[in-house]
Amino acid sequence: MDITARSAVELHTMLVEKEIQAQELTAACLEKIRTDDQEIRAFLTVTAEQALKQAAAVDQKIAAGEKIGLLAGIPMALKDNISTLGIRTTCASKILESYIPPYDATVAEQLAQAGSVLLGKLNMDEFAMGSSTENSGFGKTCNPWNRKHVPGGSSGGAAAAVAGDEVVFSLGSDTGGSIRQPASFCGVVGLKPTYGAVSRYGLIAYASSLDQIGPVTRTVADNAHVFNAIAGHDAKDSTSIAFDKPDYSQFLQREIKGLKIGVPREYLAEGIDPEVKRVIREAIQTYTDLGALVEECSLPHTKYALAAYYLIATAECSSNLARYDGVRYGLRAAEAEDILGMVKQTRARGFGAEVKRRIMLGTYALSSGYYDAYYLKALKVRTLIKQDFDQAFAQADVLLAPTAPTTAWAFGAKADPLSMYLADICTIPVNLAGIPAISLPGGLAGGLPVGIQLMAKPLAEGVLFQAAHAFEQATAFHTLKPAPTGGAL
């Protein structure tokens, strides 16, 4: 197996046993990026020089006989909405094209502390608004499984870079499915943690009551280890929660015999591709064979989640993105003569069509006369959706559902905004309820990966790793790889 295709757990052993050097590993990933990323285009910025220095520091520690952590020397990359000190951070938006953050996001700092090697910044839908990465201001990212297809979004670069073996893991962000859906489309593992479990200090905001940072990896075990490194309270993020953090890798080996798995029937209703339903049926069989107790359940307000989400998320985005006014950072339309014209032209030129559309929708939903009918109504529906989950988790430890209604679609197939929004129906309720969920490979359909999604109570990431790892070990779908040509020919 190619060294860049190995898991962090395997690579850690190889580093400690001195079978490879961290610098070799980083150089191999940089070479992979050089050859493959011209086509995949997962990266917006590659930080080769700095990466090799970080890797050299890890090699020195190993040579000196120091103990290294599991993520030390492991090459990774960050979605480009995660601030990195001195490294351009664009949100894939023209408005931040040359923005260089004066500080690190807490997660960037945590991974640097862990000794992980940052190879660069990853493409995304502009400001994380989209489900295909086609909304990037700097070009599309291809799905490594079929280069004529989207990688999903908005963390499309984060999923494609991991699926394409360009990095061992990445961090994405998930507001309505933006980690899980690209993980599903690219055949990798993506975790959307409990709201507040990972610091968002330095994450450039889209919708603050929904955004969460989480890991994208090739195995469930790697995901647990990365989550170990980034989970926990951060005083710099006032929405971060204080909790007793277990060692999440301890959950991996636990048996799932007797685990209660609910399958919400609303997630297998109309609009779900028959092949995706087949994958879920097979997953139910796998879990039953492993001794889990699988039962149908109901989340009756599911059909209202998408509408509530697009009102809440856009309302929050219209407020968050008001800061891009051409004054303190980012693009400025310099020719305008008065301040109002300058702000309006800066925003017109700097934002792409989808970002403008969401700012418009959110501004409308918050505007005088419509607030009660749209925004307040959506917040009340959010309460009902959260209650659905509370009731379901009174019976079940974990819920099993599709991650996305379909496999990755071809570029340009969803030109109408509403049809793109509908691609998020299986992931959005989780964000509204603030609960954790993971997507992991559940098999293939038509040569493209299909993810299965597991959801749990707030702060119950441990049981997600437990159930996901058991499935992964029983099926080995995670070992399936895209053809080197991407199968597009």
Partner: protein, 94 residues
């Protein structure tokens, strides 16, 4: 129609977005379709339901009001499109 061209123009002004005539037309059509879809929420009776703005029971997170290090003026101004004498420079306001 759930939203008119005039409303879209008004919202664009509130959002500080300069839109072309073509964009106003497109957004009117698209926002109308999205709002039509969102009308599904009207099926639900929610008079008695409390709104949820935030899922975690966190309230008034405070910290000690103590002196601590912050970014320097130079660091803060480094990304500014235009700066002068330690200030952000903008077009004439009054």
């Amino acid at each position: 129609m759930r939203i008119t061209r005039e409303q879209v123009e008004h919202v664009a002004m509130l959002a500080r977005l300069e839109l072309s005539g073509q964009e106003v037309g497109e957004y009117t059509r698209q926002l109308d379709a999205i709002l039509e879809y969102a009308a599904v929420l009207e099926e639900l009776k929610t008079e008695e339901i409390e709104p949820t703005a935030h899922v975690m029971p966190l309230m008034n997170v405070m910290r000690e009001d103590s002196v601590r290090a912050s970014l320097s003026q130079d660091q803060v101004l480094r990304n500014a499109p235009d700066a002068e004498n330690g200030f952000f420079r903008v077009p004439k306001i009054v």
